[in-house]
């Protein structure tokens, strides 16, 4: 059955009446009722006790009066007086001595024989008089009448007064206690009830004027706490871009809390995030966005984003109204090689987001471009380096195939070139593979104990032929004792061969290449120095880059893959060491490799 709106309204109205009743008034009433019951019980008990004491006192008083009456009667019997005046005088004497308040002696026939009554009653009116009747028998044993004696015993009066005071004190204390409990309950329950009622109103959204929901400060700490909350809420609403005329106010508080948390998260993102309203003005921008655009949030809010981002972004934002998927463009600033490239992406507006706002992100994609440029450079260099040996192989193979060139010398030259260029090609391929693996860290490394002296001797020997051809004096200087180091023998051989080979290659004829091994406490140092052309300090770092060939024509005149030093550096680093260059133009170069000694390298190789 669908909900009848009237029924619903009725329910809400009922709830508005009953909820405060259950949640405020009734708990308070319960508390008060309980206190009242306790107090009434206390007073009742006090009264009961008073009543019991009073009754007992009365009984005792009555007994006391009867006793006195008996004594008076006995005295009267003992001395019967015929004279009425004497009788009265005797009665008065007896009464005064016994403390009686009244006495009346009536004969059996009902006639009054004697009576005594004090002239003025001193007994307080509220104190009851106990009376006792006693038969008087004369000495002959004849009934002489009845004595009625009234008495107000002193004890009864005292007890009654004490009880009265006691009850009054108990009642007074009970009243004070009740008032105290009432005050306490009122102080604690009322504000809670008021806050609860106001919260309910707030949650229902019936109250838009938040100030009206604040409580009187006389309600204590709860009220002041609530008032602070209301003030905060008023402040938050004031902060907002548009006042929320309707909607769930409590939800708004929660949303704002969430928004604040979200903003903190967004401000930590490296990606710029902007919310752009329909008027193309920025509604929100996180810290990264402001940094990318070099704008303050105020200026961004005031002006359309097109003024900051340019027409491209405006077009994208306009087009995005129709496009279902995100679209983006990249903008580059600064120098072509390097500089910063920002990618602007506009996401379609979602129906659930208010007012057709668009989301724009700004990302720094410079590294992607740099990676692309680096890949392009690598490919360019690789193909460039491959083309030269391939050109030679193709040209000389074709020459070999042409019958016109059939003389022995030409054929031999063809074979030699084809073989050497094939070697160069395979070395190049090997180097490219090697550097790629080293760079991505996937190089297969076979670590073991390496006798560096033996490796150095081998490498020097291998390069001796090339050195001799150019009359270069290639020498190796070793320390007396060298510990073995831990490393990949094959890769270390390549490293040292690259350095020694380069030194021989770039040193002019009649030059000198010295290979020196030194042992330090923590590492070994291999220095390959030459008397070559030297390298400008500006290029000291760049010589280790892939495919970098120094601009010097003397260097460019020598064939090389441009990978040897890059491989050497990666290999040294793979072994936990490094390589650097000490050189000045015209003064030769020294490549210095430092490799750490393995911790367990106690074995020393003695030089023979």
């Amino acid at each position: 059955m669908p909900d009848n709106p009237n029924q619903h309204r009725l329910k809400r109205a009922w709830a508005r009446i009953t909820t405060p009743l259950w949640e405020g008034v009734i708990p308070e009433a319960y508390g008060l009722a309980l206190a009242a019951t306790l107090i009434v019980g206390l007073v009742g008990a006090s009264l009961c006790a008073s009543y019991a004491v009073s009754r007992e006192t009365d009984a005792l008083a009555a007994e006391s009066v009867r006793g006195t009456a008996r004594v008076v009667a006995a005295a009267l019997q003992a001395s019967p007086q015929d004279d009425p005046r004497e009788r009265a005088a005797l009665l008065e004497t007896l009464c005064k001595s016994s403390g009686a308040t009244s006495a009346r002696w009536t004969a059996t026939d009902g006639s009054l024989r004697a009576e005594w009554r004090p002239k003025e009653s001193k007994a307080p009116l509220d104190v009851p008089t106990h009376e006792a009747s006693i038969q008087i028998v004369d000495s002959d044993g004849v009934q002489a009448g009845t004595l009625q004696l009234g008495m107000s015993p002193h004890e009864t009066q005292t007890t009654r007064r004490a009880l009265l005071w006691g009850n009054a004190i108990v009642a007074g204390l009970a009243l004070l206690l009740f008032l105290r409990i009432y005050w306490k309950l009122h102080r604690h329950v009322r504000p809670i009830h008021a806050v609860r009622r106001n919260l309910t109103e707030l949650a229902r959204g019936v109250e838009n004027d938040l100030q009206a929901l604040s409580l009187s400060d006389s309600l204590g700490e709860v009220a002041s706490g609530w008032n602070q909350l209301i003030e905060e809420l008023v402040r938050l609403r004031g902060d907002g871009d548009a006042p929320h005329q309707s909607g769930d106010a409590a939800q708004t508080v929660f949303d704002r809390f969430e928004a604040r948390t979200l903003r903190q998260v967004l401000d930590r993102l490296p990606i710029g995030v902007l919310r752009v309203g329909l008027n193309h003005c920025c509604v929100f921008a996180n810290r990264a966005a402001l940094q990318f655009m070099e704008q303050s949030e105020e200026t961004l809010r005031a002006a359309p984003v097109s003024e900051v981002l340019g027409d491209e972004a405006t077009a994208l934002l306009s087009a995005q109204n129709r496009s279902p998927s995100p679209s983006s463009f990249d903008r580059h600033s600064g120098p072509d090689d390097g500089g910063v490239t920002l990618r602007y992406t506009v996401y379609p507006s979602q129906r659930e987001t208010a007012g057709g706002e668009r989301l724009l992100t700004i990302e720094d994609v410079s590294f992607r471009y740099e990676a692309e440029r680096s890949r392009d450079r690598f490919l360019y260099h690789v193909t460039h380096e491959l083309r030269t040996p391939l050109t030679n192989i193709q040209a000389y193979a074709e020459t070999l195939a042409k019958p016109a060139f059939d003389d022995e010398q030409t054929r031999r030259e063809c074979y030699n070139v084809i073989i050497s260029e094939t070697r160069r090609l395979s070395a190049l391929v090997e180097n490219i593979l090697s550097i790629s693996q080293l760079e991505v860290g996937s190089a297969r490394v076979e670590m073991g104990e390496v006798d560096l002296v033996r490796v150095l001797r081998q490498m020097v020997e291998d390069n001796m032929g090339a050195a001799d051809e150019k009359s270069i004096d290639l020498t190796l200087k070793l320390p007396p004792k060298t510990p073995r180091i831990e490393g990949d023998k094959q890769r270390l051989s390549v490293l040292l061969n690259n350095l020694i080979g380069n030194a021989v290659k770039y040193t002019p004829e009649q030059g000198r290449v010295n290979v020196i091994l030194e042992v330090e406490p923590q590492f070994v140092r291999v220095t390959v120095s030459d008397t070559g052309i030297g390298i400008d300090p500006a290029e000291h770092e760049r010589v280790f880059e892939k495919f970098y060939r120094a601009a010097d024509s003397k260097i460019q005149a020598v064939t090389g893959t441009g990978l040897g030093l890059a491989i050497a550096r990666e290999t040294a680093r793979l072994h936990g060491g490094d390589i650097h260059l000490e050189s000045e133009p015209g003064k030769g170069s020294a490549f210095v490799v430092e490799l750490p000694l393995s911790k367990s390298s106690g074995v020393e190789v003695e030089q023979r």
């Binding site: 193909t383 460039h384 083309r387 030269t388 391939l390 050109t391 030679n392 192989i393 193709q394 040209a395 000389y396 074709e398 020459t399 042409k402 016109a404 060139f405 030409t410 030259e413 070139v417 260029e421 024509s553 003397k554 460019q556 005149a557 064939t559």
Partner: protein, 128 residues
């Protein structure tokens, strides 16, 4: 037959080009770099210039730019290159017949190209 100047820094490539063109009966001069080629170009003007692009000192494009100022006798220029941007290489040299040959190249095809340039020149401007 033509007088040909070959500018190439790779000695093997230079050698094989010279071998083939000499065998075809051309008068071939060698230069190991751009500057040497420019020198020889002035001393002994060739009919055809064959140049590599990447050379130490003065590269092939600079050489081409220099010689195109004084190219009235030049029948054609063959540019050997590793580069991909062939159009950019041949552009901007009005009045010079530029042919771009990518490496690796076939020496027989290079010889055919030279013969073609020769025959084109012969039909366009018969020798005086």
């Amino acid at each position: 037959m033509s007088r040909i100047l070959v500018a190439e820094d790779d000695p093997h490539i230079l050698s094989v080009i010279c071998l083939w063109l000499s065998q075809q009966g051309h008068d071939v001069d060698e230069a190991r770099n751009g500057l040497a080629a420019l020198q020889q170009f002035g001393d002994k003007p060739p009919d055809i210039l064959i140049t590599d692009v990447n050379m130490p000192g003065m590269d092939g494009l600079e050489l081409l730019h220099e010689v195109s100022q004084n190219a009235h006798h030049l029948r054609g220029v063959v540019v050997l290159t590793n580069r991909w941007d062939h159009r950019e290489i041949s552009a901007g040299h009005a009045g010079v017949n530029v042919h771009v040959v990518p490496k690796p190249f076939s020496p027989s095809k290079l010889a055919d190209l030279i013969a073609e340039i020769d025959s084109d020149a012969a039909t366009m401007s018969p020798p005086e």
